[in-house]
């Protein structure tokens, strides 16, 4: 019962985050909104685990959270250096 209420409340917050995800003026706003969406999906998965009593859904929530970290780092690193394989040394000043 409380878990169902938690899932519904967090879904409303997720809709607000989706609005910011599509309306964000810069790349970093969208990244932040994506982070929020995935975190709220993880909370919803945890609430669904408590509602249905299946422990595998909590593992799905953990996977959501860790995948969110990897996706954030990939997006920010790509748009900072322009490539996924940034050189480990600084470019020489001519």
């Amino acid at each position: 019962m409380t878990a169902l209420a938690a899932a519904i409340g967090v879904s409303i917050a997720l809709l607000l985050c989706v609005v910011r995800l599509f309306a964000g003026p810069t790349l970093y706003d969208r990244t932040l909104a994506m982070n929020g969406v995935v975190m709220k999906l993880a909370v919803i998965a945890a609430a669904a685990a408590v509602v249905t009593g299946r422990a595998a859904l909590v593992d799905a929530a953990l996977a959501f959270l860790l995948a969110s970290v990897v996706a954030n780092i990939a997006v920010l690193k790509f748009f900072r250096s322009g490539t996924f394989q940034a050189p480990l040394t600084r470019a020489e000043k001519p």
Partner: protein, 122 residues
């Protein structure tokens, strides 16, 4: 009424109170993410109120969990939220600042040289 039933009612009521507190925090965070004027203020709303709200909601779900396996995994999920939320907010803020995204800073606006309102994207 036996003691087990009373304990069950107290457990569910406590979890309901904790989940309600967390939902208020999450609603504040989402509203701030939607309404604040600037990336840095949005980070402040999203990753302060939102992470704390998520942790509180998950702790309320721990109290309501039907068995021990789910409760322990939910505790691990709360610990991961506490560890990863500030890390991700730091990543986003540091990347935006390095790309030259200027904050809206009121009277004390001091943009960096070459700073733009949309970031350099390069």
């Amino acid at each position: 009424m036996e003691a087990g039933a009373v304990l069950e009612i107290v457990r569910l009521g406590l979890s309901g109170v904790v989940v309600a507190i967390g939902l208020v925090l999450i609603a504040g965070g989402a509203l701030g993410l939607l309404r604040f004027p600037d990336l840095y203020t949005r980070i402040h709303a999203a990753n302060v109120a939102d992470v704390v709200g998520s942790v509180v909601v998950v702790l309320g779900l721990v109290i309501a969990a039907p068995d021990w396996g789910i409760a322990v995994r939910l505790l691990l999920l709360a610990a991961l939220f506490m560890a990863l939320g500030p890390t991700l907010s730091h990543l986003v803020a540091q990347a935006a600042h390095a790309a030259g995204l200027a904050p809206i800073a009121g009277r004390y606006a001091a943009p960096r040289p070459g700073a733009t309102r949309t970031g350099s994207m390069s």
